[in-house]
């Protein structure tokens, strides 16, 4: 039996838990806590305090786990993901909150270094009226044109599937490149 995993990361409230919930075949093993203090309370009631995880079984001997990172601005959990079987990662961006874009860029930088594996970015909450367009977010994040930034609605399964597939194509592409 082989276990592989994809990590879903991004700033507080970006939709990481929702993303995993939309595709996981098990109830997301969630570690939500009620938020008791601070500005963040105005945004939502619960936040993820440890890794979330969801599962997609492929066949009798292959399982894909989706790991969601906690929303707090700390990186202690990094050591947890630095284990066997990581394929790549997804950085979710809350398209409706430009004040979090800087943090998203910091997270991307950190992951590129701790976990130098293929990745894609997803501009989440594209269904919201106040969402920035993908092209504007690309500029705001100063992304290289080679990097994939996909529109996403984490509550919609097809949209989540699309993001995951794009990451897997990216991984395939990297594997082919490394054979040259």
């Amino acid at each position: 039996m082989q276990n592989v995993k994809i990590v879903v990361t991004g700033p507080f409230n970006a939709g990481k838990t929702e993303f995993i919930r939309s595709i996981s075949e098990i109830e997301v093993v969630s570690t939500e806590r009620k938020i008791s203090t601070g500005e963040e309370m105005r945004l939502k009631e619960t936040t993820t305090v440890a890794m979330d995880f969801g599962r997609i079984s492929v066949d009798d001997d292959l399982v894909l786990y989706l790991f969601g990172t906690p929303g707090q601005k700390r990186f202690d959990f990094m050591w947890e993901i630095l284990s066997e079987g990581m394929l790549g990662f997804i950085v979710l961006i809350d398209s409706t909150r430009p004040e979090t874009y800087r943090e998203a860029r910091g997270i991307l930088q950190t992951f590129k270094i701790y976990a130098p594996t293929p990745y894609v970015l997803a501009a989440n909450k594209q269904d919201c009226e106040d969402a920035w367009s993908v092209e504007d977010i690309r500029l705001a994040l100063r992304l290289d044109p080679k990097i994939k930034l996909l529109p996403c609605v984490a509550t919609n399964k097809e949209s989540v599937k699309n993001v995951l597939l794009e990451l897997l194509y990216e991984i395939l592409g990297e594997m082919e490149k490394s054979s040259e």
Binding site: I56, D59, L64, K73, T110, K112
Partner: protein, 272 residues
């Protein structure tokens, strides 16, 4: 209730705000690794501030603000070593060396500079002692806290932004490989040069901060400006473990196995 804790949970600016609003009198002591700061307040106004690492005698302060020369400083140090600041101040004014306004200005500038440095402290233990009044051998000063608090809040925002840009200090730096980059032509500050000397994937940013005796805010500022200038790039520390299936592929057979694995995943997700 005792006013004590760690700056990580309650910042210097927040403390100043509290002292200002409650019009407190007393002494705030902040301790971190090798340094102690004492800040005195009278009725919610800044009365005095000193750092353990710095000569804060009146002659030293006057010399730093260039109101007296180095020679004058040495003469005063040797002849007036036992005088209090108040006595010495009077003596200098009466001798026509300096005006009262000069002394008060220099002291104010100095106290503000100490407070500015305290705003860069992002951790350290603090306690406020209401039974410890401002030292009475010092020349009394009263500085309103409001403007300092505004300045401090700006700095907190800067700190938060820098933490977002550079979330972890466990990363290393390397020089950007730009053939056109010529370090000598760059206009680097003293701090930036100090950091540049340690740039090497073997050193984490944290280790560089220790070697250059910079705190978390100072090192992030320097690293951020070097990143912005395109001089350096973040990189993995050389002793960090290798992760990721892709990084472990060494043989064509392994590659083939991994490619087939990814294809199985793709087919599975398509039908999900």
């Amino acid at each position: 209730m005792a006013l004590k804790g760690n700056l990580r949970d309650f910042s210097v600016t927040q403390l100043f705000n509290l002292i200002n609003l409650a019009k407190k009198t007393g002494t705030l002591t902040i301790e971190r690794s090798s340094e102690v700061a004492r800040v005195n307040f009278r009725e919610g106004k800044l009365a005095y501030a000193q750092l353990s690492s710095e000569d804060n005698s009146l002659p030293a302060i006057l010399q730093r603000s260039k109101k007296i020369s180095h020679n004058q400083y040495q003469v005063i140090q040797s002849r007036a070593a036992n005088m209090t600041d108040k006595e010495l101040g009077l003596l200098l004014i009466n001798a026509g060396y300096i005006t009262q306004a000069d002394i008060l200005n220099s002291l104010q500038q100095y106290l503000i500079s100490v407070v500015r440095r305290l705003f860069t402290w992002v951790d350290g233990f603090f306690h406020f002692d209401a039974s410890l009044p401002p030292p009475d051998d010092r020349i009394p000063i009263r500085i309103d806290l409001e403007n300092l608090i505004i300045e401090g809040s700006r700095q907190i925002r800067e700190w938060e932004q820098l933490q977002e840009e550079i979330p972890s200090l466990e990363m290393s730096l390397k020089f950007a490989d730009r053939p056109d980059a010529n370090m000598r032509k760059l206009n680097l500050s003293v701090e930036e040069w100090r950091v540049v000397k340690f740039i090497n994937p073997k050193n984490t940013i944290k280790q560089i901060a220790e070697a250059t005796k910079m705190n978390d805010l100072e090192i992030r500022r320097v690293v951020f400006s070097l990143l912005q200038a395109g001089v350096v790039e973040l990189t993995r520390p050389t002793d960090m473990p290798v992760v990721g299936i892709i990084n472990r592929i060494t043989t064509p057979q392994e590659r083939e196995a991994q490619v087939s694995l990814v294809n199985r995943l793709i087919n599975r997700i398509r039908v999900a």
